[in-house]
Amino acid sequence: MKQFLNDRLPLDGVMAHLRKPLPKHINLLFSLGSLAMFLLLLQAATGAFLALSYSPTPDHAYNAVNYINDEVPFGKFVRGLHHWGASAMVIIVFLHILRVVLYGSYKAPRELTWVVGVLLLLVTLGFGFTGYLLPWDEKAYWATVVGIEISSTAPVLGDVVAKIMRGGAEVGAVTLSRFYALHTIWLPWLAFGLVGLHLFLVRFYGSSGTPKNTPEDMKTGKPFYPDQVFEDVVGMLILFVILACAALFAPVPLEDVADPTNADYDPRPEWYFLFLFQLLKYFQGPFEILGTFVIPTVGMLLLLFLPFLDRSERKVLWKRPIAMTVTSVCVVAIVGLTILGATAPKLETQEETQPTDEAQQVTPPDTETTDINEGEDVFDFQLTEEEIENAKDVGEESE
């Protein structure tokens, strides 16, 4: 069998490539990329199975998630893996990027590898944003309302972008359908395409190694396969065990079904968007756009074009004071804002003195429903004998 495959496929060449030595001093931080890829595969697998029992309509989405949780065998576990896997993916991708920045691995000739990596970060956040609307609970609804409103504050095209995302005037059936399509078709295609390109570039340029690697060290370390692959697999196993424990013992939150009139609900996004949520509080009136558009966009563009802005060849961190300062400030700001957002007190208002009025509309609502008379057959698809005869006559005439 092996000979059969060898005669037809360049397996020996692939194996020789995989056995090429890595640079010396490769440490555990170099497994973060593999862990991110593992999580992407885990999300794809669990998501594909969750989709078997999910229906992306406002009438059914919430019940479908409840059904998965309560009735489908292993449903709670699969949903738990998917939920906690999403959080783990954001953490691992963030740490991976941080490692690349601190080791200066984005520098020439690996600029494109970096750019594709930053695009993958955006795709990861896109997965998060489109994914948490799907349960159609309070958090899903309100976080999406706020998220889309943030995009509407962008100059010139903001409103247009918001309408395209919503698919209508407000978050509803079309929005849910669009987000589901983005989450399960568009973004996965994009993610796997970008991951393929990222891996190709990583293998093409080889590992950047650590800052203390000399040119002689670059090809004298352990081989990628099996040494590094084994370490990566052990890392994946540890991560999977952690996620499995979380899925088994930490319940995945599902709040009440989305209610656009529930003002008692304090909307909060998922923890990985809390820093942005908190940031928005500090820019008032005409400066609102700084928090909603300018800072996130400029920050992301700086990240994207980092290799073209920092062209020095120095990789050792203490010889790059600007990079070290900016990175430290960003990390402290993101972590600090996340903590502030998570611990922000909920709003307490004094109850209104008058009870809520549930309007009993006097004018009939604008519906296309027609009254059905008593005894009328609504779904009568059975033809009468007379109708069958008529149909025969028409057929004969046409011949």
């Binding site: 409103e149 009139t261 709003l347 208002t349 109850e351 009025d357 309007a359």
Partner: protein
Amino acid sequence: MSKEGRRSFLQIATACIGGLMSLAAGIPLIGFAISPAWKKGESQWVDVGTVDRLKNSRFKKVNYTFTAKDGWVKATKKRSVYVTDAGNGEWSVFSRTCSHLGCLVRWDESKESFLCPCHGAVFDKTGAVVAGPPPRPLQKLEVKVENGLLYVKEA
């Protein structure tokens, strides 16, 4: 024609055919995806209750429903507003949607203010911004009274 000339012609022709097909498929596909951008919303008058029932209301929370098209479905939409009877047949109805990022504001009787639970916005009883990030006042809905019913205009 030389071999070089023939090959450069084939290259250009291949690029042209590919470009043409991309345009022919791409324009309708993009139009399909972004069509909500130029769809105009339809406004309608919705009754929120009888004038008798709402008489003397002061920032009274009223929830109501109406039917509107949402893509392929006629959906029942839920809304919540604050209604005040200003006397002399004048009414003020505030939308509860915060003008910042769309969360629902709450009327606080002791502070005589609308408070937003999301980013700390505060509006006074006229809907003007007192504190927090909103760039605009709270939206006051258009109202009318007909046949003893109070109507608001839903955009």
